[in-house]
Symmetry: C2
Subunit: 340 residues, 2 copies
DNA sequence: CCATAAAATGTAAGCGCTTGCATTTTGTTA
DNA sequence: TAACAAAATGCAAGCGCTTACATTTTATGG
């Protein structure tokens, strides 16, 4: 028997079981190709030795890892959590393991993470949003690693995506705001650089303004990081104008929650003095007071559909197809009528 | 030049650059060992061919991956987010990549994830809490993969840990509650099965009760999942008793927030009718209304210290040492005096 | 300009696994 | 029981990389 200080290899198993490495390998990967008797013997030895396949070697020899990678902009808040959880569950069911990395909304970090995951053998990748250097897509293509984009949808997208129309969704929400008499609206947006979703949401707001005869030009937009605290600061900044907005549309719920909190600190009533809306409808939206009017995104559906489609792309080596999901507007306490 | 349909290998680079594979390898791993001229030439070819090392092969040959794995109970809420983010940042700074997997609080899934990460070459692992099958620790030991435990601390722990004393922290919080005259307290805890932190927190509450001359025996404990909704249900259950508690201590902020929300829905005033406390002090705690009295955990500090220690364990092959961090009690609006 | 040490580079042996093909064993049929 | 097909197993060639060791080139000094 082999020494007990080192990790057992296929070879060790083969030797103690008195078979060839090929048979051991078959016992693991294609058990039906090994006669029961031998198989049991081998499995017993595997168990006894505590053998586990060396992944690196396996990948190298077989080219498949049953691993899917996902790179999300942040793990700090729950924006991507629920859909990722659903993604993971669906993947697990299909026998895949999910590995997650976060980019902190930084393109350079994202690229690094993509490479890390791909070189670690990810069979496929889930990415958020389209905006990305062409060289990355080229890299993925060369490596033949299928990538699926989530959180956005566009017919004409060059890559398959499972998501929703950020622009139209935000436009619909804005219509609700305008419908309540608001004419001076402010925007708190996440950084638009490298973030197509953020840009589209702003576009959606402009669409609504325009179609209501308002000029999008005199729109106050504050761009900041997607953090609660930043949302608060941006809010304060917007409210400090001579003619402050009566409604503030935020790029996501996190920013909106920060705004609401700061409003309270400043003694401003929401929605009495100012209405605030978010986007995404994460748990936070219902917890904050007043509850947040926001765009509800089908997180779990997006996650599980993405899993199914991505696995399909991996297994059939197909280009993959896109799917558009619907969002709905959630009217809650934070949106009220304009006071004058 | 090699064909353009396949992924370039070290060999391709070597050939086009007119050097040996060893030199190419050195250009990548120990650039100072190759003369500038050659190095530049090789790097240019690497760039031109879009070469990236094959990770599997690399792991196999070098036995090091500069990858650290972390398995957290959940990604659904922000409990582990901040500390994980800090962990990741510190790791990144040291040249390591973090790969994350979540177990959904399920031991079997956790074990699976541990194996997945280890076989994928993780140099070290960050795990949450001690409770775990002995066979897992044995597996890790055999594989010589160092593991660091976070979110808990104990002198006598068999494995190095970076965390805090859950029991003492909860005890301190409970003292604050009792100090305000509460005598009937209820507990909403996460599942204690396989979760030492949850158990210790309960013990802490009992400690405080006992030392205040109260009998821990007639304590109402509702065990549930760590989800907002579940916190609400548990709350309703506790409040439906003939003599409902005047203070409810929750196992974490998520449960507490669920309880607060349900209180509002039921028309109960917090803290007028019932006080509610949490644990962890995540963002949610400050956002909810009334703000949550809770135990503040040094998330970021825990994350970055864990990174430093774990990398140290990996690089020096040492057993690693534990560190205890301090928590503080955050008194906020959700805790008030008992009404009678 | 030559000897010699130091620096740069090349050679080739694995790392642990999968799998096409060859060989052996088992089962079937006449 | 012989002949042959099918099933089970073994053999051995890689997969792409790192690295100890061997070899070649460059630098140094007399």
């Amino acid at each position: 028997m082999t020494g007990n200080k080192t990790v057992p290899t296929l070879d060790d198993v083969a030797k103690t079981a008195g078979v060839s490495t090929a048979t051991v390998s078959r016992c693991i990967n294609t058990p039906e190709r090994v006669v029961e008797n031998t198989r049991n013997r081998v499995l017993k030895v595997i168990d006894q030795l505590g053998y586990t396949p060396n992944f690196g070697a396996r990948v190298m020899a077989a080219k498949r890892t049953y691993t899917i990678g996902a790179i999300i902009p942040t793990m700090e808040n729950a924006i991507f959590a629920r859909s990722l959880q659903a993604f993971q569950e669906a993947l697990h069911q299909k026998g895949y393991t999910l590995l997650v990395a976060s980019s902190a909304y930084r393109p350079d970090v994202e690229e690094e993470q993509i490479r890390a995951l791909v070189s670690r053998g990810a069979d496929g990748l889930l990415l958020i949003g389209h905006d990305r250097d062409a060289s990355i897509y080229q890299y993925l293509k060369q490596r033949e690693v299928p990538a699926l984009i989530a959180w956005t949808f566009a017919d004409d997208a060059p890559h398959p995506c499972i998501g929703f129309d950020n622009r139209a969704s935000m436009r619909a929400l804005t219509e609700e705001v305008l419908k309540r008499g608001h004419r001076r609206v402010g925007i708190i947006s996440g950084a638009t650089q490298g973030n197509d979703r953020a840009r589209q949401r702003i576009e959606g707001i402009k669409d609504a303004l325009t179609s209501n005869g308002l000029d999008p030009a005199n729109l106050n937009i504050v761009e900041t990081k997607y953090e609660i605290e930043c949302g608060g600061e941006a809010f304060e900044k917007l409210m400090s104008f001579k003619k402050p907005p009566t409604a503030i549309l935020c790029g996501n719920d996190v920013l909106a929650v920060g705004a609401i909190r700061r409003a309270r600190e400043l003694g401003l009533d929401v929605p009495g003095d100012v209405s605030i809306t978010g986007f995404d409808d994460i748990e936070l939206a219902k917890v904050v007071f007043p509850a947040l009017t926001t765009v509800h995104v089908p997180h779990r559906e997006m996650g599980s559909k993405a899993a199914v489609e991505l696995v399909n792309m991996v297994e059939t080596k197909s280009a993959g197809s896109s799917a558009e999901l619907n969002t709905t507007i959630q009217i809650r306490g934070s949106l009220g009528h304009a006071k004058n």
